[in-house]
Structures are given as structure tokens and as C-alpha cells.
């Protein structure tokens, strides 16, 4: 796949496709760095990778309409929910999907100033592994 400009990314939260109300998606994945330095003639620190730590950051366009953003997210507060993200709306051999369970630990139902679009930007920690799949 060539370089990609994100225009048609897909994000489903609790199996609901909210892509048309999400302006940004970031899946963050990193590992702990565990130091293993011991006495050695090399005089340099040594390290190994520890536990994976993943999170997802989403920017929503808030919408209070029936079955839209607020009604989807608010009942999930305090629970772990399934999220599936992909760079394009159709998963293919060159556009994978990423599935994971995220803890809905924060939500900003109302955010914005006068004349601004009401948005909600959240970062939710992922519990467990991320499953990457191609079709």
C-alpha cells in the first residue's frame, strides 16, 4: 500500500459505527522498558521489553440525537467495550483492522466555546492485547 491520507477510516464502538462523528483516531502502543543492567565490563545499561501498554485516543463530534454519540458512549462509562478501527472503511490485504477492548474511563459530554463545534477528546486505556486482522 502506498502512503495514505486518512479520509475513510472506520471506528466502531460497542459494534456501533460512529465513523461519521469521529475526526481523529490514534492507537498508541508501547512496551515497558525493564532495566537489566548488571556489573559488566561494557559500562553500558542493558534493557529488555516488558509489558505492552496500549491506549486509544479519539476525537468525537458531539451529538445528542437519538442513537448518536452521547447515547452510545454514556451507557458505557466505567465499562470495557470492544472497539474496532481500520484505516479505510473496507478491510483488505493492505488495510488491517485493529480490535481491542478499551476501558471507557473518561467522557466530556459538553466541551467547547461560543461559536465552536462541540467536541469530546478522550484517551482510553486498552485492556488486553490488540488483534490485528487482514481480510
Amino acid at each position: 500500500m502506498a502512503r495514505i491520507v486518512l479520509t475513510d477510516s472506520k471506528v466502531t464502538i460497542n459494534s456501533v459505527n460512529l465513523s461519521d462523528h469521529i475526526a481523529s483516531v490514534t492507537i498508541n502502543t508501547s512496551t515497558d522498558v525493564v532495566e537489566t543492567t548488571a556489573f559488566s565490563s561494557t559500562g553500558a545499561r542493558t534493557r529488555v521489553a516488558g509489558l505492552l501498554d496500549n491506549s486509544v485516543t479519539l476525537e468525537f463530534h458531539q451529538d445528542f440525537a437519538t442513537s448518536s454519540v452521547e447515547q452510545t458512549i454514556y451507557p458505557l462509562l466505567g465499562t470495557a467495550t470492544t472497539i474496532v478501527c481500520s484505516p479505510t472503511s473496507t478491510v483488505s490485504a493492505t488495510a488491517p483492522s485493529y480490535s481491542f477492548s478499551a476501558l471507557v474511563s473518561e467522557w466530556t459530554p459538553l466541551n467547547g466555546g461560543v461559536g465552536e463545534l462541540a467536541t469530546a477528546s478522550v484517551t482510553w486505556n486498552i485492556t488486553g492485547a490488540i488483534t490485528k486482522a487482514y481480510s
Binding site: 459494534s15 456501533v16 437519538t66 442513537s67 447515547q71 454514556y74 451507557p75 467495550t81 470492544t82
Partner: protein, 60 residues
């Protein structure tokens, strides 16, 4: 149990008016209570129609 999609958004790849089984939702990892609370799906409460069994080879 069977559910009907009432959401304006796609749910489990289905659109408004489509049916979803409990199995499909659970396999997708969905929180069914939250989907109902969010007006995305509603349970079909109608009584299923049960047709009387016909015996094979019965003589009328």
C-alpha cells in the same frame, strides 16, 4: 433472542430495520444493555408462531 436495529448508525454491520441475534452481538463483543440504552437495538418481544408438526406418511 432476536433484536431489531433501531439506530441511525450501523450496528454490527446491520442497518435500521435489520435483525440481529443475541449470538451475533455477543460474538462481536457487544454490550447489549448499552446498545438498548442507547436506542440502537430493541428486543423483539413478539411470540413466535409455532406450526403444528405434520407426521410424515400420514393418511388424510
Amino acid at each position: 433472542m432476536i433484536f431489531t436495529v433501531t439506530s441511525e448508525a450501523e450496528v454490527c454491520g446491520k442497518v435500521k430495520g435489520d435483525s440481529l441475534t443475541e449470538k451475533e452481538l455477543l460474538e462481536a463483543g457487544a454490550n447489549i444493555d448499552a446498545l438498548i440504552a442507547g436506542n440502537h437495538i430493541k428486543a423483539n418481544t413478539g411470540t413466535p408462531i409455532i406450526k403444528p408438526a405434520t407426521q410424515e406418511g400420514a393418511i388424510n
